[in-house]
């Protein structure tokens, strides 16, 4: 057996370092991705974090976009969940407020999470929310009703071809997945 080019000990050491490096890399990927998504603004379909209004954003009065609202209740969750308006017209760059009504008719306390989804896909990353009840889980005690706000704008960089956008929320029961975070969004109006 001729002498190997590199000693076994050294090779083992290099391979072990490789394994450790890959492990560390996986952990680092979490903050890495947070950074990348922040810098590139990738928010895509599941935008449940607040967008910032770019300073100097101009309202584009030359065109209007029609925004439709829709809601879905997932599974057997016994909630009432509707938008207070079905449509509105918005100029790109303008910030508007819309409320969604939710009522807990399950007969017990619940924690729910609304997950947004936007169509068409080409428009999704341009509809930005600065405040939304979907950013956090929402706690409802028995029979509670609330109006939940969404402040949003459509980025003026959106393609001129897009004339209609649909913003839809699906309400999920997350009582078993309660997170350690503030229980509801700013501006939520509880109705008695």
């Amino acid at each position: 057996m001729s002498k190997p080019r590199i000693s076994h000990k050294r090779l083992t050491l290099i391979l072990m370092c490789g394994v450790v490096f890959m492990f560390i890399f996986c952990y680092l990927l979490v903050p890495f991705y947070q950074l990348i998504c922040k810098k590139t603004g990738f928010n895509g379909k599941g935008a449940i974090s607040a967008a910032k209004v770019a300073p100097g954003m101009q309202i584009d009065y030359s065109r209007k976009i029609k925004v439709d609202f829709a809601t879905t209740i997932n599974g057997a969750l016994s909630f009432k969940f509707l938008p207070l308006q079905r449509h509105l017209e918005i100029h790109p760059g303008e910030v508007k407020l819309i409320y969604f009504y939710a009522e807990n008719t399950t007969g017990k306390e619940m924690t729910v999470q609304a997950i947004p989804s936007i169509t068409p896909m080409d428009a999704a990353r341009f509809l930005k929310k600065t405040e939304c009840f979907c950013f956090t889980q929402q706690y409802f005690f028995k029979n509670e009703k609330a109006d939940m706000p969404v402040y949003f704008f459509v980025d003026p960089a959106i393609s001129k071809d897009i004339k209609e956008i649909t913003l839809s929320y699906t309400l999920f029961d997350v009582t078993h997945y309660k997170k350690n975070q503030p229980h509801y969004a700013k501006g939520r109006i509880d109705l008695r």
Binding site: K45, D68, A70, T72, N74, G75, K80, L82, L84, R86, L88, K96, L97, Y99, Y101, E103, I115, S117, I118, T119, P120, D122, K145, D147, K163, E164, T166, S168, T170, F172, I189, L191
Partner: protein
């Protein structure tokens, strides 16, 4: 024996080329929607291109299989490369592909244009049924397979629409652009009606859109297009396209059923609005 190869290839080719008629039941339907027409033409264009290329390649091959046999005393000619011919049969297919890609791109752009629809229909896929909501008319109902288990188990004669019939059909007006918002409740389903040229996946938690514009009244049937569990094959779709007057009548009839539910929701909404207006008056915030 030696003619079998030729026979089988020719048989296959002739089978393929004889289906130029969309109504034969072995081709994609021409359909009744603007989109289904465009898709049909694109499909036939792709098919003819393939037939053309196939005819050329296979005729050269078959010619060679017959003429260049050792049993006929043929000696092999030794050529094994030719840059010119390689470049030729790289560029010509490339150009053919470009020619196909152009109409495909145009049709795709049309599919993506859901603007200015007169009616919005929200479709939710469930295991194993569909829920339809007419968002602006406040109508909502489930649509289940109507074929009985006896028919499926061969204990009763099958009626002509076996596995393609439902209890509550989707009714839409003809000559109206209908926008579809599609989602699901549990697993991934897909809403597919061949004659409308529509297939769109229903994904839980997400919303997809599509549209149709039906030009002819009639009943159009489809099925779920994504494996969703045990009864994936048992959740059909039935769309009935009727005149605008019939549609209005149908809406009224259904709204009467839904009246009480809607009334409750309206009262709730009014109360909520009052609260908001009260608030906004105090804070001077805007609401449109």
């Amino acid at each position: 024996m030696k003619n079998y190869g030729r026979f089988i290839v020719l048989l296959s080719l002739s089978l393929l080329t004889s289906l130029s008629y969309a109504t034969s039941g072995i081709n994609m339907p021409y359909g009744v929607s603007l989109l289904s027409h465009e898709i049909y033409y694109l499909h036939m264009a792709g098919f003819y291109v393939c037939c053309g290329i196939g005819a050329i390649v296979f005729s050269v091959l078959i010619y060679s299989l017959i003429k260049h046999r050792k049993s006929k005393g043929v000696k092999a000619v030794h050529f094994h490369e030719h840059l010119g011919v390689e470049i030729l049969w790289t560029t010509i297919p490339f150009l053919i592909l470009v020619a196909l890609a152009v109409p495909a791109t145009i049709v795709l752009k049309h599919i993506h244009n859901t603007d200015q629809s007169a009616l919005t229909l929200k479709i939710t896929g469930y295991q194993w049924k569909w829920k339809y909501e007419y968002l602006d008319q406040n109508i909502s109902f489930f649509s289940n397979l109507a074929t009985t288990q006896e028919q499926i188990n061969n204990n009763a004669p099958k009626n002509p629409w076996f596995l393609l019939e439902v209890d509550n059909e989707v009714v839409v007006p003809v000559n109206t652009k209908v926008k579809l918002l599609i989602t699901a409740d549990d697993v991934v389903h897909s809403w597919w009606v061949p004659e409308l040229g529509i297939k769109q996946d229903a994904i839980p938690g997400f919303i997809n859109e599509n549209w149709f514009y039906i030009t002819k009244p009639g009943t159009y049937r489809g099925q779920c297009g994504e494996l969703c569990g045990m009864n994936h094959g048992f959740m059909p779709i039935v769309v009935k396209a009727v005149s605008q007057t019939e549609f209005n009548q149908w809406v009224n009839a259904h709204q009467k059923l839904a009246y009480k539910k809607r009334h409750d929701d309206a009262v709730t909404l009014q109360k909520a609005h009052a609260a908001i207006h009260h608030l906004t008056l105090k804070n001077g915030g805007g609401l449109s």
